[in-house]
């Protein structure tokens, strides 16, 4: 049997009861230690997220496995493996799955509390900024410095208005 996180043979086998269903996690020693699933019985948030993700999603339906964020390029599978999202836009792209996960972590699904007084940047503006930055990078790489300077000014202008 192979480790859940890498391809080494699994030597640590953990079982947990979730909603009266047995869930199993198989890991190699190194990953288990790294994930602090053994030795420490202290709560570790990364481990919790990963375990929850594993339990929750189980086998990924093809559609979900292929789900990719157009802005940062992260696949849902990668988020599942690493427990970290790729960019703010992922909260929109993976919304359905995240809502279930957040409900389990926080027992809530909606923010209550501080709101920035400044109007948050509209998703369309964010997408435009992301695209402009990409163009800027490309023109610097292509040594098209005049174009790069123009792009930089546009980004600055957008940022200060945003």
């Amino acid at each position: 049997m192979k480790c859940h996180y890498c391809s080494n043979p699994a030597t640590v086998h953990l079982t947990d009861l979730v909603k009266k269903q047995k869930k199993e996690l198989h890991l190699c020693q190194a990953c288990a230690e790294q994930q602090q699933l053994i030795q420490h019985n202290e709560l570790n948030l990364t481990t919790i997220v990963q375990t929850l993700l594993g339990q929750h999603v189980g086998h990924l339906p093809d559609e979900l496995a292929r789900l990719t964020c157009p802005q940062c390029g992260i696949k849902f599978m990668e988020f599942r493996a690493e427990g970290r999202l790729g960019c703010p836009h992922d909260y929109e792209v993976f919304k359905g799955e995240l809502q279930k996960l957040l409900e389990r972590i926080h027992r809530a699904g909606r923010h209550v509390g501080k709101v920035p007084r400044r109007r948050p940047v509209e998703p369309a503006e964010v997408a435009e900024l992301v695209a402009l930055r990409k163009q800027l990078r490309e023109s610097v790489e292509a040594e098209a410095y005049e174009q790069a300077a123009r792009l930089r000014d546009r980004i600055r202008q957008k940022e200060s208005h945003g």
């Binding site: 957040l102 926080h106 699904g109």
Partner: protein
């Protein structure tokens, strides 16, 4: 900022002042924030991380804060100095150990630190000596408000402040109170307290955060939930539970004094004796012995003429590996370090004994 000047002081978190400071060491609040138009740090390229750092660094420099913050580039800082900042609780172990462009802006009193390119683009932290969550919240809320005028945070109405890890989303706030609980440990009641705290969704961690051991009987109590509760509610929940833990610790101290004063006194005197005369001392043993000495002073079992509380608080931090090496002005391996630590303790405790302060 000259780090060398910091080595001789205990920093904010061990200043030993503030409400309930015999048990409550410090209060700390951290806010996770991200820029709207960039990938999170772990997904950003080297180039993007440089852009994020340059942008935040510039905006932080413009903050109308008095006194102003100093920005430290962590890439050019030596590993020893990075470890030094971790020991002072000014940066996280993750930020010290990660790679790529990153830095920290620090206030001169070491109460404010803004970490750039941590797991989130920005981690704001405010620390206060003693039980002072309200003051810490007022400070951090103000810094956050000032930054928000200059930076477009990633925020959604539904999920709040968007973070790299879904465990931080919402308020992005982690509030924690560090407690010194030697009597509950001695009375073997600490596990009971932890279980009760976990039931109400509060986390307990050791001295240096997640995964670290509770050396010196220091424990950090913090909130787990960041979504669906306002900052005020989260702070209230922690604020309500801390006096109960303080009470348990005081009761445990009273019981120890009543039922086993002799052996407690013996334990404390031996700890003090060992610190004053050993020739090899690990960091962990030092923490444990200093913890007993700290308890001894609080219970009046060690007279203040022999050792003062500020000295003990300073020793907790100065005997940490990076602090010790900076004070000695040399990089030392394990064995040399243990000998140097024992030498340092002997000189500090002798000098303190002959010149009471």
């Amino acid at each position: 900022m000259n780090l060398e000047n910091l080595t001789h002081t205990s920093g904010e978190w061990l200043r030993g002042i503030g409400p309930e400071s015999d048990i409550v060491i410090s209060s700390r609040i951290r806010l996770a924030r991200n820029l709207a138009a960039f990938p999170f740090t772990n997904r950003a390229t080297g180039h993007q991380k440089s852009e994020i750092e340059a942008l935040l660094r510039e905006r932080i420099a413009k903050l109308e804060l008095d006194p102003r913050l100093d920005y430290i580039n962590l890439v050019t800082l030596s590993p020893l100095d990075r470890q030094f900042l971790v020991e002072r609780q000014l940066i996280s172990r993750e930020l010290a150990g990660s790679e790529g462009p990153r830095g920290v802006a620090l206030g001169p009193r070491e109460t404010v630190s803004l970490m750039v390119n941590e797991e989130d683009h920005l981690r704001l932290q405010v620390m206060r000596s003693g039980f002072a969550l309200d003051e810490a919240w007022q400070d951090i809320d103000k810094v956050d408000d000032l930054l928000e005028q200059r930076v477009s945070y990633a925020f959604s109405e539904e999920f709040g402040y968007l973070t790299a890890c879904p465990t931080n989303v919402g308020t992005g706030m982690r509030a924690s109170v560090m407690l010194h609980l030697p009597a509950l440990v001695l009375a073997k009641q600490i596990e009971k307290v932890f279980r009760a705290l976990q039931k109400i969704n509060l986390a307990v961690r050791g001295l240096y955060g997640e995964g670290s051991r509770a050396s010196g009987d220091f424990y950090q109590i913090s909130n787990q939930v960041t979504l669906g509760k306002s900052e005020t509610t989260i702070l209230n929940e922690i604020r309500e539970v801390i006096p109960q833990i303080i009470n348990y610790e005081r009761q445990a101290r009273t019981t120890l004094l009543k039922e086993s004063k002799q052996s407690l006194h013996d334990r404390i005197s031996r700890a003090f004796g060992t610190l004053r005369s050993a020739t090899m001392m690990t960091s962990e043993e030092t923490m444990d012995l200093l913890s007993s000495v700290r308890l001894g002073i609080n219970l009046g079992l060690l007279p203040e003429e022999q050792i003062s509380m500020p000295t003990v608080n300073e020793l907790f931090i100065q005997t940490q590996p990076a602090h010790l090496q900076k004070l000695m002005g040399a990089s030392l391996d394990g064995e040399e370090r243990n000998a140097a630590r024992a030498r340092f303790l002997r000189s500090k405790l002798r000098e303190n004994g002959s010149h009471p302060n």
